[in-house]
């Protein structure tokens, strides 16, 4: 019996050692921070240095983890369910709405007020993604606006002006194709990436085809406006053949590569192409220009999908220290250092740094203009979990590809999309 008892004891001990124990939440004095790993490594380095210095000053130990746009929601989904969100989370445009609706974010109105003292007033169009019921649940960190990249040398060659409307893009693309300069110059990818769904929102909104009213209530995409928007962009794939079907399978980086390989004249993208071209002294740098994204019959209603915001999840044990750290990272000196090292990728959402001489370049002004004109996801209403799902579920780009790939009529594609959107809004009422 003694031998058996010993064996059992060993087995129990082994089991205890081998079964992984959940990581305890960070205690006071220790903070965890999750941030986006951007396409600009030098900027990431500045942010980490700023954050670590702030932590050092506050006497807390800071552990930084990163995620990319691709795995952000995989990481957050697991953390939401296991109640292990970090002390500080850098959330995307829809994150604050999703988490605040779950009651999992602390009120950070005091941090926003402090940041506003340092950085000037918050841009009104940034409010919609972070302010709910009169309280701020996240501090806008920066926006990565999508702009229209184009090739001025090619436009000169075919005698065309830089396009200002969605129609213009089609017309100029046709000219480029007819001139034999490029076979598929129109590089708008209606795919399952930000380069697909951000321009899709801008497109439909610019044709007056939003799906909610100002209160954020579902109204449905108006058919006439929606059909007009669909026709203008699907023509490039189906009739003019100025876009290749391959663009519909692109990843977030493939349009950058195609543009830098000189294969397309137009593509929507964040300023990261400029960073890549500048840092590698790319031969096309001198022939690369940017412009604010096109307008439509209802105006230039741009989407601001890539907005990163600091939030303090309620899972954390040190909300006071977390808020103080965000406040320190957003202090003017730290923020400007970060912004200036971002190759014009990270655009502030507070007034003062937007007036910084750093933006006083032709390209800089366009990037700032884009942010100032941008609307949050869910426009003309506020960002809501339902609006977030319309974007993350690729409803808009699916609508476009249904017409291009599956050859359904634009009218039928809009009916399908409205049915999907209505189901989402019925299922996800705002608390």
């Amino acid at each position: 019996m003694g031998t058996l008892a010993k064996k059992l004891a060993v087995l129990i001990a082994l089991t205890t050692v081998l079964v992984p124990m959940p990581e305890p939440p960070a205690a006071a004095g220790k903070l965890s921070l999750w941030r986006l790993k951007t396409y600009i490594p030098p900027a990431d380095k500045i942010l980490d240095t700023n954050a670590q210095e702030c932590a050092k000053k506050a006497g807390v130990e800071l552990a930084i983890q990163t995620y990319t746009f691709d795995d952000m929601w995989t990481k957050f989904t697991a953390a939401i369910e296991s109640k292990t969100l970090p002390d500080i989370a850098e959330l995307d445009a829809v994150g604050p709405a999703r988490l605040a609706n779950l009651g999992r974010l602390a009120d950070v109105s005091d941090v926003v007020a402090a940041a506003a003292k340092e950085l000037g007033t918050i841009l009104p169009n940034a409010d919609g993604a972070v302010k709910f019921g009169g309280k701020y649940y996240a501090v806008p960190h920066y926006a990565i606006p999508l702009v229209l990249f184009y090739r001025p040398d090619i436009l000169t060659k075919v005698g065309a002006e830089a396009p200002d409307t969605w129609e213009d893009i089609q017309k100029v693309s046709e000219k480029v194709k007819k001139a034999g300069v490029q076979e598929y110059p129109n590089g708008f990818p209606w795919n399952r990436t930000g380069d697909g769904y951000d321009p899709a929102m801008s497109l439909f909104w610019s044709y007056g085809a939003a799906w909610v009213d100002k209160s954020g209530k579902f109204t449905g995409i108006p058919k006439a406006a929606g059909v007009e928007a669909l026709k203008v962009v699907t023509r490039a794939y189906l009739a003019d053949k100025t876009s290749a079907f391959d663009y519909l399978s692109w990843s977030g980086a493939t349009n950058n590569e195609a543009f830098m390989a000189g294969k397309i004249t137009f593509t929507p993208n964040g300023p990261s192409i400029l960073y890549q071209e500048e840092s590698t002294q790319h031969p096309l740098l001198k022939d690369t220009a940017i412009k604010v994204m096109p307008k439509g019959p209802a105006g230039r209603n741009l989407a601001l999908t890539f907005v990163m915001n600091w939030a303090v999840p309620t899972d954390g044990k040190s909300p006071k220290e977390a808020k103080a750290l965000i406040g320190c990272v957003m202090a003017r000196e730290n923020f400007v250092k970060y912004m200036s090292g971002s190759f014009r990728q990270m655009v502030p959402l507070f007034a003062k740094p937007l007036d910084d001489p750093y933006w006083n370049t032709p390209g800089g002004k366009i990037i700032v203009d884009t942010v100032k004109q941008g609307h949050p996801v869910g426009w003309p209403g506020p960002t809501t979990p339902a609006a977030a799902e319309v974007v993350s579920g690729n409803v808009l780009t699916d609508m476009i590809t249904r017409v291009i790939v599956d050859k359904v009529t634009p009218e039928a594609a809009i009916d399908e999309a409205n049915k999907r959107i209505k189901e989402i809004y019925d299922r996800l009422p705002v608390k």
Binding site: L4, K7, T15, R104, S251, K263, S392
Partner: protein
């Protein structure tokens, strides 16, 4: 007083020894599996409590035109991949079975696709098939076979064929090596006797090799079917399910529903949709193997 007999002690020790394994299996296999089945029967959005809704998620999927496209794509992707892997794997095994010199080296080389990480394979094929800069299109244009690039990842039919090709390239060595190992256990005497009776190569293969290795063929096909049906990386990296939904399969669709849209209940139901088919396949293969043994 010792109340336990030696037999009891032995039995107790046996239970104690298998207890950790049973616990691990319960925790790592049974619990997630049962939990997934339960979640598929609930309306569960990430962060919110789950509400039991019975088979409503399955009904919603059956009514969804998009899910029908996904189911069809998954079937095409799996069947297409398995059939081609089976043929190439068999050809590889037959070729290597008769190679005397350099057999180990060639076998090692042919195993490479199987040991390379799937992400690398998917990225490599994505680049090879790129419309503008892909090696395949550049080569085809250079030799004058085509005037402009083929839309490997853009044309809906070709896109499916392309992801199948990448999957086949990764998976055929598993078939080949498994078949080769099985072929090497077939007694040479059978072939010698067949040769004396005047059997040709085809007859030897059809009447000796294939019947001798059919158990291995069945198991390998079953395992690969399960893995292929649940494949995610190749499609996600190469096409993201596009163009449109032309290559959207169960795994990418479940990811879109569960992670991006946060609809766990529906995502689990989409993942579970292929389970009855896989279960039937497993039962059929196991029964077949039992019958063969008897």
């Amino acid at each position: 007083m010792n109340v336990l007999t030696d037999r009891h002690r032995e039995r107790l020790l046996g239970y104690a020894l298998i207890a950790p394994v049973a616990m691990f299996l319960g925790a790592l296999v049974a619990y997630p599996f049962l939990s997934a089945i339960y979640l598929s029967l609930t309306e569960k959005t990430v962060g919110y409590p789950a509400h039991f809704v019975g088979l409503r998620n399955y009904e919603a999927l059956l009514e969804s035109g998009r899910f029908r496209i996904v189911a069809w794509n998954s079937a095409a992707f799996t069947v297409g991949s398995i059939v081609v892997k089976l043929v190439i794997g068999m050809a590889m095994a037959l070729a290597l079975h008769n190679v005397v010199r350099g057999n180990q080296f060639i076998r090692g080389i042919l195993l490479l696709p199987w040991v390379i990480p799937t992400v690398v394979i998917a990225l490599t094929w994505k680049w090879l098939m790129d419309l503008f800069r892909g090696l395949i299109n550049v080569a085809l244009i250079d030799v004058g076979a085509v005037r402009s690039g083929v839309h490997w990842l853009g044309d809906p039919t070709l896109a499916m064929a392309s992801v199948i090709t990448a999957n086949v390239w990764r998976g055929f060595p598993f078939f080949g090596v498994s078949f080769l190992a099985a072929m090497q256990t077939v007694p040479q005497e059978l072939y010698d006797a067949a040769a004396v009776d005047g059997a040709g190569s085809w007859e030897k293969f059809w009447r000796i090799t294939l019947p001798s290795i059919k158990g291995v063929v069945a198991v390998v096909t079953l395992l690969s079917t399960i893995v292929t049906l649940n494949d995610f990386n190749i499609v996600y990296i190469m096409t993201r399910g596009g163009p449109g939904a032309a290559t959207h399969i169960f795994a990418t669709y479940s990811y879109e529903l569960g992670i991006m849209s946060q609809r766990w209940g529906l995502a689990m139901a989409a993942s579970m949709a292929s389970l009855p088919l896989v279960a039937l396949l497993i039962v059929a293969v196991v029964r077949y193997l039992h019958r063969e043994e008897e």
